[in-house]
Symmetry: C2
Subunit: 193 residues, 2 copies
């Protein structure tokens, strides 16, 4: 029994209680401390992961140790490296906890069975993939066209609830700007307000 | 009859000649001059588009008139704005021809019928979507972590055949660097070689 996950499915789908229980029963719980990784770059992403509480980040590290963040996944979101999961090849990114985090995960074979036997769950999963695609395109356009100030303002608008939960260096690593630039932007904003 | 498209499907799928003809028969041909647009930002993307010859680019324009390029789609590739097409809402980007281009297009209702009645075509379409997702993640990582030099080298490696077909300003607009920086990088490379 995973009450938070079952509440999430009740809110976002019309699946019957039996089907929800069926999906939930195949999940395994895992608790992560801050900085624990579900998988690291070079390993294979073998599970679908749902964040019950806390927050994960998908990131890569450059040779010089600097971190680049592809995605934040807070509670009630899914996380995985899609290419590694689909093809079962080593991932180029790591999936780690930003803060103490509780996740559920499903083995790929189990999850595939759920998708193929529950068409309504399949179409819900397709919607989530589509939303991720829209967001990626949006973010790519932002990266190509926006100034650092605009990138930060967009982040504040999109994710107001993340601001207090994330160290500044991670926000900078997500926006693709230096910590120094981010600090300067925030300082200028404070002075204006 | 669209022989190039039918050859493309024969190469990439195991669909029977009858099914291939069925898909092909629903397509409409359109010829574009350089800079013609299939749709512009603010319009709705109503068709699936396949590039028979030539090249399209998906782009947006900033208020100051500068162009940002999300994607190039040369011959034997598909192009659309996925969010506008899925939801039939105005697109944030435009789809225009880089050079004289011949495309085929399908009305959304026709294409959906094909997808739902030909499972093998559906799974082929899913593969193409997956490949786009992998590539987007890859490109996002590159944007976050790479220097302008690395971005350009990666582009040359990935798309050697595009180099001679694209004006430098479009390569710069795709890489998210200024034309001046791109010119400097190319100049430095020429001097080294």
């Amino acid at each position: 029994m995973h009450p938070e996950f079952e509440a999430y499915l009740r809110t976002h789908t019309n699946l019957t209680p039996d089907v929800i229980r069926n999906i939930s029963d195949l999940a395994v719980t895992r608790t992560l401390r801050r900085n624990d990784c579900i998988f690291s770059a070079g390993e294979i992403c073998r599970h679908k992961v749902f964040v019950v509480s806390g927050m994960l980040r998908t990131f890569s590290e450059s040779a010089d140790g600097s971190e680049h963040i592809l995605q934040f996944s807070p509670e009630n979101n899914w996380a995985l490296d899609v290419e590694s999961y689909d093809k079962q090849v080593p991932s180029m990114v790591s999936l780690g906890a930003v803060e103490p985090t509780k996740v559920l995960y499903w083995h790929k074979a189990d999850f595939n069975t759920l998708l193929s036997t529950i068409p309504q769950f399949r179409s819900f999963a397709d919607q989530i993939i589509a939303r991720n695609i829209y967001y990626s395109r949006q973010r790519m356009l932002m990266m190509l066209s926006a100034t650092p100030e605009e990138k930060y303002e967009d982040f504040v608008r999109e994710f107001p609830r993340y601001l207090l939960r994330l160290p500044l260096r991670m926000i900078a690593a997500y926006l693709g700007i230096s910590l120094k630039t981010l600090t300067r932007i925030r300082h200028a904003q404070l002075q204006r307000s």
